[in-house]
Amino acid sequence: MPLLDVLNLEVRYGGINAVKGISFAVEEGEMVCLIGANGAGKTSTLKAVARMLPAAGEMHYRGERLDRLPSHALIGKGLALVPEGRGVFARLSVAENLAMGAYHRNDNEIAADLERIYAMLPRLAERREQLAGTLSGGEQQMLAIGRALMGRPKLLLLDEPSMGLAPLMVQKVFEVIRNVAAQGVTILLVEQNAKLALETCGRGYVMESGKITLADTAANLLADPRVRAAYLGE
């Protein structure tokens, strides 16, 4: 049974059909990416999975119907989203943002997890009392990922983590993502940077105007002439 199983997902904004009945699955422990051009429906897909958008179709998470749960019930099930544009709480401090990540938890390992995050992301440790709005884009992305990890997710959805970052920072962010995956967190990644996404993940889906047009292993997609022509600039 896949960890996440999506069947005939459809998202509409008014008259516009952003996602047109796509189906995909993510197995436990996998790193899967959803690549495609701007406006292909990648972000809408992730938001629909996180129940932030009304959508038609069926979504199963560990066999449970996801599409009947409110958004705020998901993290308790182990599903976290790092949103597009990072979505840190600008007027809360770094430490408070991280604490928000553990909002649904009541166990006594929160402080230990916080130290683990600070050890993994030392830039955040240095800035823990600073307001998140004063951080650089890369630091905010790290914070958004750290905040999601504070919820101890089993499935982490990442929406365009490389967006607007300098190349060196992109490398660092992806290093963190690989690190998280190595700890056993399943990852569904949405990226415009197709090359980087395919080099990082095991499997990929290509989205084009609301539909999945290709689905294969990352290695095959990287070698596919259609992908090379459309997304890798060759």
């Binding site: 932030m52 958004s71 705020h72 993290i75 949103p83 709480f89 809360l92 928000m100």
Partner: protein
């Protein structure tokens, strides 16, 4: 007698009450961008419920401060239930409606509450029994009553408590996160409906306290008292920067001072043409000036367009 100092004492008393009410406006605005014009009526309900509790208890000969405390507790519970119901019935169904709809609804709720209060408590002005110590003391040539001191102290302690709640607790953190971005806070497991309901409940408890204090200060309560008070507290919230807690407190105290000083000196300033009964003019003059010259208020953040 020192008129300046006297008016400052009066202004601080009045201002701390305005601040308590202004907090209710600013908390709701901060979290959902709604101006809850019915908030003033919650203050009125608090005052009248407390009065109804006070009369029989005082007649039974219980000590004054205890009677006030019990009355305050009952009034707070009634107002909390009222605030919760208002949000649930009047505002939640309009959460995603155009902004004008909940605003008009708020005015409707305000009228409904006023009329209900009129049916329950009648049209007359009720005298509030003087149950709190009101002895007057001379300070630097001006008179300050124990009642005034109590009002300022209770308001200050309550506001300090609120600041601690918002800045130092898990609930407060979730409130601030929801105010900033409810959808993202939802991803962390925050149920925005619950946070909004709690915001109304807390604001209504503050309103009940303000109602008890203001009716004790003036010695009267009536079904219409919430309207002008609410409008002034709204002015105070705008003056401080609506959405900003510290701003509401500063705005409230400042407005109280402006009003008291204005009332104290308007006779001299206009050569006796206008008397101190023009007190209310100052609040709305302040509102107009703030809206023209600094619409974001004294402590409000500049509203910037985000890309």
């Amino acid at each position: 007698m020192d008129i300046l100092l006297q008016q400052i004492f009066n202004g601080l008393t009045l201002g701390s009450i305005y601040a308590l009410v202004a907090l209710g406006y600013t908390m709701v605005y901060g979290i959902m961008g709604l101006i809850n014009f019915a908030h003033g009526e919650v203050v009125m309900v608090g005052a009248l419920v407390a009065l109804s509790v006070m009369k029989p208890l005082a007649a039974a000969g219980l000590p004054g401060p205890l009677v006030v405390l019990v009355a305050l507790l009952v009034a707070a519970l009634v107002c909390m239930a009222l605030g919760f119901t208002i949000e649930r019935v009047a505002y939640r169904p309009l959460r995603n409606a155009p902004r004008l709809a909940p605003l008009i609804t708020a005015i409707g709720v305000s009228i409904v509450l006023q009329q209900l209060a009129m049916l329950i408590w009648g049209r007359s002005y009720h005298a509030v029994p003087p149950l709190l110590p009101a002895e007057s003391h001379e300070v630097l040539g001006a008179q300050i009553t124990e009642l005034q001191l109590i009002i300022m102290l209770v308001a200050a302690l309550t506001m300090a408590g609120l600041i601690l709640l918002v800045n130092r607790t898990k609930l407060g953190r979730a409130m601030r996160a929801t105010a900033e971005n409810p959808a993202i806070a939802g991803l962390m497991g925050v149920d925005a409906n619950r946070i909004i309901a709690l915001t109304f409940i807390i604001g209504s408890a503050l309103a009940a306290l303000a109602g008890v204090l203001v009716s004790a200060n003036y010695g009267i309560a009536h079904y219409h008292m919430g309207f002008i008070l609410g409008l002034k507290a709204f002015t105070a919230a705008v003056l401080g920067g609506i959405g900003n807690l510290a701003g509401a407190m500063v705005g409230g105290v400042l407005l109280g001072l402006i009003e008291a000083l204005g009332a104290g000196y308007i006779g001299d300033l206009t050569g006796g043409i206008l008397g101190s009964h023009y007190q209310d003019v100052f609040a709305f003059f302040v509102l107009i000036v703030v809206l023209i010259f600094r619409p974001s208020g004294l402590m409000g953040e500049k509203v910037s367009e985000r890309a």
